[in-house]
Point group: C2
DNA sequence: ACCTGAACACCGTTCAAGT
DNA sequence: ACCTGAACACCGTTCAAGT
């Protein structure tokens, strides 16, 4: 009952097992060998299903992005179809909902950000999200070129914000570790006479929570993106 | 002439060697063992200088960020000191210069982005860049809380944009590889009847170059960040 | 203090072979 | 077609020992 030409599992089962490892041990622990072991397979059997680790990660990203947009954001798209037909629609609620949902998705799972950064974002689900962003901006009256740039700006902002939050969270969990060695790079900077950063230091006290500053930033970005564009300028 | 209590090299030498590997073979090739070998040391000797690989990477990030701000952007800071003393200054040129320089820094070196994402951004050089961003926004009339949020939005945007560009560049260089296996994730989506994305497809034709869309996005973001704030609102 | 050598517990991937 | 077993060329990190 060991070998034999039986397709004992599916690609989907492999992605399942990989997500279990991701959520329990983090992104760094997702390995071809580990996933194979979790399924009772040899590492080499994995290469029947995926050409390499990158493809596995791409499959995970697609699955993850598939969790988005079918519930919350899909309704927003319907509403715009049934709503005002000719007049330019305000894209802000749709974009805010989409960006917020994407952030939740990535911040919720432990290794979510690492996953997104590790694989290219060109699968069908990634493209679908793109399409929704583009639709929101073209519905608002932007031409396709401007909508493309605006959508990219939103993508970039969400990805960057989530990456930053994840880095900060990781730093906080490492905080118990004593330094023991000096900061390791103090020598090659103008760092002699206790250079101080008063604004940064004062600002640290009133840092607001990640979700709040994310919403604030996206809203500000949208203001900028829509400031010059809704009125056709040529 | 092999062992012996002689500090044959310095932390700085190690970071030098690591950068050489980074620039020639990319971020994935930067390993403790590889750097040690390049210096003629055993891997274990590295742990005399750095407690772990993370610390090495943090040292590299600090060195990298040290290349910034001392030339181009430092002048901008001086100009604001000597310029208009009481009236709120337009932060846009300063922020644009800083963001652009940071982007160049990260896009220029092959593994630059990977490096930035791998290590926490809390070293002195990272803090110095923060301080410059904060100063630009407080000089423009924002209170410290708003300036902090604005600076974070800029940070986030730059990081996200560069990460995206790097991912796209990596994808382009892999383009020669034939697929051979199916996209690996097609099964678990609503992907049956040739779902099409007309906007995304049409938009791909008129995508502009990364540096241009980056400048556009940052400028739009700044418009949004400054829209509600310069006039003291309470 | 600075370094070596051996070792531990891992990686991704390839290849020849079995059913 | 699907899988195993052995192997290649790597990882980060620890430990005991040398000078």
């Amino acid at each position: 009952m060991k070998p034999g030409p039986r397709r004992s599992i599916s690609q989907s089962d492999i992605v399942d097992a990989a997500f279990e490892i991701l959520e329990q041990k983090g992104f760094a622990a997702v390995s071809v060998r580990g996933v194979a072991a979790a399924l009772g397979l040899t590492p080499t059997a994995m290469y029947t299903y995926f050409p390499n680790k990158q493809a596995l990660l791409a499959g995970m990203v697609e699955r993850m992005l598939g969790r988005l947009g079918l519930d919350q954001v899909g309704m927003a798209t319907d509403a715009s179809d049934a709503g005002s037909p000719a007049s330019p629609a305000d894209p802000r609620p749709r974009v805010l909902a989409l960006a917020g949902a994407l952030r939740e998705l990535l911040v919720g799972r432990p290794g979510g950000v690492g996953l997104l950064l590790a694989a290219p974002l060109d699968g069908p689900n990634a493209t679908r999200i793109d399409e929704q962003l583009l639709a929101a901006f073209t519905d608002a009256g932007l031409d396709l070129a401007a909508a493309g740039r605006a959508a990219h700006a939103v993508r970039v902002h969400v990805l960057g914000a989530v990456a930053f939050d994840a880095a900060e969270a990781g730093r906080a969990s490492d905080a118990a570790t004593p330094p023991e060695h000096p900061p390791a790079a103090a020598s090659h900077t103008l760092w002699d006479d206790l250079e101080s950063f008063p604004l940064s230091e004062a600002g640290r006290a009133l840092a607001d929570d990640p979700a709040e500053r994310f919403a604030w930033g996206i809203e500000r970005l949208l203001v900028g993106l829509l400031a010059a564009a809704p009125a056709p300028r040529r």
